[in-house]
Amino acid sequence: MAKQTKKPALYLAEYETPNAIAQAAMKVRDAGYQNWDCHTPYALHGMDEAMGLKPTRIGIISFIFGMFGVALAVFMMQYTNAFDFDLLNVGAGYPLIVGGKPPGAFPSMVPIMFELGILLCGFATLFGMLHLIKLPMHNHPIFESDRFEAASDDKFFISIEAGDQKFDLERTKALLEATNPTHLELVEEEVQ
């Protein structure tokens, strides 16, 4: 087994109150860091502004796939119920005349258009969100910290990752100390 060494992964500063972390976040934001984050037990409202984050674009993904679902439903129902040509060698449609309506009657297809639109929109929202937040990712150096377990209970944390361009063992530490955390630690990850 290769010899294991450790290298700094991130600074983890701990705060007790929402106001304390918001104040600290504004300082880190103003210092120009990019690769950093606030870890909170619930969604803190107002942190987008305190962290200087751009609005999320997940709505666009959901909308596009929702519309795709509607289009798919129109295609499916018109192909199978209104025409009898074999488009993709999957079997021809079969024009059905039921209840005196024309085979491609549009109004009676609205409910399924709606449902398929919702269905694809829902899947796109789930997977779009997971894509944007880069989860699932079951391993992260932040989990090396024992104190971090409180991030899902009642404490608030700021992490600044070593991957950030401005990251510097001394200056980043000084910046975080100036934000008055209740605890500050350097989390290390193992390098094999």
């Binding site: 504004m26 107002g46 942190m47 959901s62 709606f114 449902e115 969100m129 699932p136 391993n139 209970d153």
Partner: protein
């Protein structure tokens, strides 16, 4: 003041008792999944699994013998099976209502009950989906409902409301499961972080997907949650509307009415709220959650049920008005004879024999909830428990009344019949309670039954007051003195 604080001028107070901390919330809710199960849980679980066994036996007998073992007949082709389908799916709707519609209206009291109600939705829709599947008699041919061509190269008829139903119910189940799971991700992370043994850590960790509570996650997560609420709201309205189309697009008197979609949706929400209430009261006392689901929450739910009962009562009255106003003799026969029991004697010399079902429905759904006009009733646990059970019974009778009293005597007196449930009907229906409660009890035991992260966000002072902080920053000597870290 922050946006999320209670508005004192309107008399709003904090929903949770003063002094509740974030850690108290974690301990109370996560503790349920960590401590040994209370004896009450085991008793209920053993009972539920036994009843689930009854369902298995009833279904096995049904599949061996065919649908003749039910009381369904000509002309009552739809009976308990479809009654149960509509009833169960209606139960589910309250979950979506509480999690989605109340979310859009920013009703913060929903956070103590939404997880619970969402789980109920998923399990109720599973129970509901069972009935149309077995109603076909040969459930191994249910794939005929999927959009695939059969042996004659014929495709399903998408102009049929029954096909709409397939798409609506399956979409509803899928979206409900996703919505439920998305809400659970942060809470699974809480359970993972509290886990003492490796198995729990791995299992909860797997489902938590590596959630770190990072704000860059919360940002997308909250918007995704809002989108789910936004799409679930029209979805839940569409699902029960589509269920009502199964009836409304037919020509059967008593079914062929335009009021059905809103009437069904209101009824669905009503019965679902009542079942949330019943189950919540039981779990609240077994798992001692009185500090998180407070009397204030229950009071608000009771007000809501009172409001919906008036809507449902209006729909009942309007159906009678239209039957009278239309001058349609078939419609009037169904409403005045079959339902109220008035009018001429039928061919065998009896008054409308199913009148009691209609009066049971009106008593449970319209008269009983009026007790919630009184604050004392709204805040009394025994009264609301009994009322919620009566409402559930009443809502079952509503579907029974709609289905059976419309069909057993319709246009032609020569084709009139009668409906009597068989033992298998009763056992199948009872058995689905076994399925529902088995899943539900497993849920309350292993999954946080209250949205931990969302409840924390409702504590007083839970959110930073940025404007005050920024103003504070401008004062030069207000900067905090750095404290040396360890």
């Amino acid at each position: 003041m922050s946006y999320d604080a209670p508005i004192k001028e309107l008399g709003e107070t904090s929903l949770l008792p003063e002094g509740t901390t974030r850690n108290d919330i974690t301990e109370t809710i996560a503790g349920v999944t960590e401590n040994p199960a209370p004896r009450g849980w085991w008793l209920l679980f053993l009972l539920s699994v036994s009843v689930l066994g009854v369902m298995g036996a009833a279904l096995a007998y049904l599949f061996i013998q065919g649908v003749g073992v039910w009381g369904n007949n000509a002309p009552v082709y739809w009976a308990w099976d479809i009654t149960n389908f509509v009833w169960w799916i209606g139960i589910g709707h309250a979950g979506t209502l509480i999690s989605a519609i109340l979310f859009l209206f920013r009703q913060k009291w929903r956070t103590s009950i939404n997880r619970f109600a969402e789980a109920m939705t998923v399990f109720a829709v599973l129970c509901a989906g069972l009935f149309p599947a077995i109603h076909t008699g040969r459930p191994w041919f249910d794939y005929y409902l999927f959009p695939i061509p059969n042996q004659m190269d014929m495709w399903p008829n998408f102009k049929s409301p029954l096909m709409w139903d397939v798409f609506a119910v399956s979409t509803y189940l899928t979206i409900s499961v996703i919505f439920w799971y998305v809400g659970l991700i942060p809470d699974f992370a809480t359970l993972r972080d509290r886990s003492k043994n490796l198995v729990r850590k791995r299992v909860y960790g797997f489902f938590a997907l590596g959630w770190r509570g990072a704000h860059r996650h919360w940002q997308h997560y909250e918007r995704a949650y809002l989108i789910f609420a936004g799409i679930s709201t029209p979805l839940v309205l569409s699902v029960h509307s589509v269920v009502s189309f199964d009836f409304a697009t037919s020509v059967v008197p008593g079914w062929h009415t335009t009021i059905f979609p809103p009437y069904f949706v209101a009824g669905a929400v009503f019965s679902g709220f009542a079942l949330v209430m019943t189950l919540m009261l039981i779990c609240r006392s077994i798992f001692k959650l009185q500090n998180i689901v407070t009397i204030k929450h229950l009071d608000l739910m009771n007000k809501f049920m009172l409001g919906v009962s008036l809507l449902v009562g209006y729909a009942y009255a309007m159906e009678f008005f239209i039957a009278w106003y239309s001058s349609n003799p078939y419609e009037q026969w169904v409403f005045f004879h079959n339902r109220l029991g008035w009018g001429q004697l039928d061919s065998k010399g009896n008054w409308g024999p199913l009148w009691w079902a209609y009066y049971a429905m009106v008593f449970c759904n319209v008269i009983v909830p009026q007790i919630f006009w009184f604050k004392r009733a709204r805040t009394s646990v025994p009264i609301m428990f009994i009322a919620s059970i009566l409402i559930n019974i009443g809502m079952w009778f509503e579907r029974f009344v709609i289905i059976v009293t419309s069909t057993y005597q319709d246009f032609l007196p020569s084709s009139w019949g009668m409906f009597h449930p068989t033992l298998i009907d009763i056992l199948t229906y009872l058995g689905t309670f076994g399925l529902f409660f088995t899943l539900f009890l497993l849920f309350v035991r292993w999954i946080p039954m209250i949205a931990i992260a969302e409840v924390k966000g409702n504590l007083p002072g839970a959110h930073p007051d940025l404007h005050a902080l920024e103003a504070h920053d401008e004062e030069p000597d207000a900067a905090a003195v750095p404290v040396p870290a360890e």
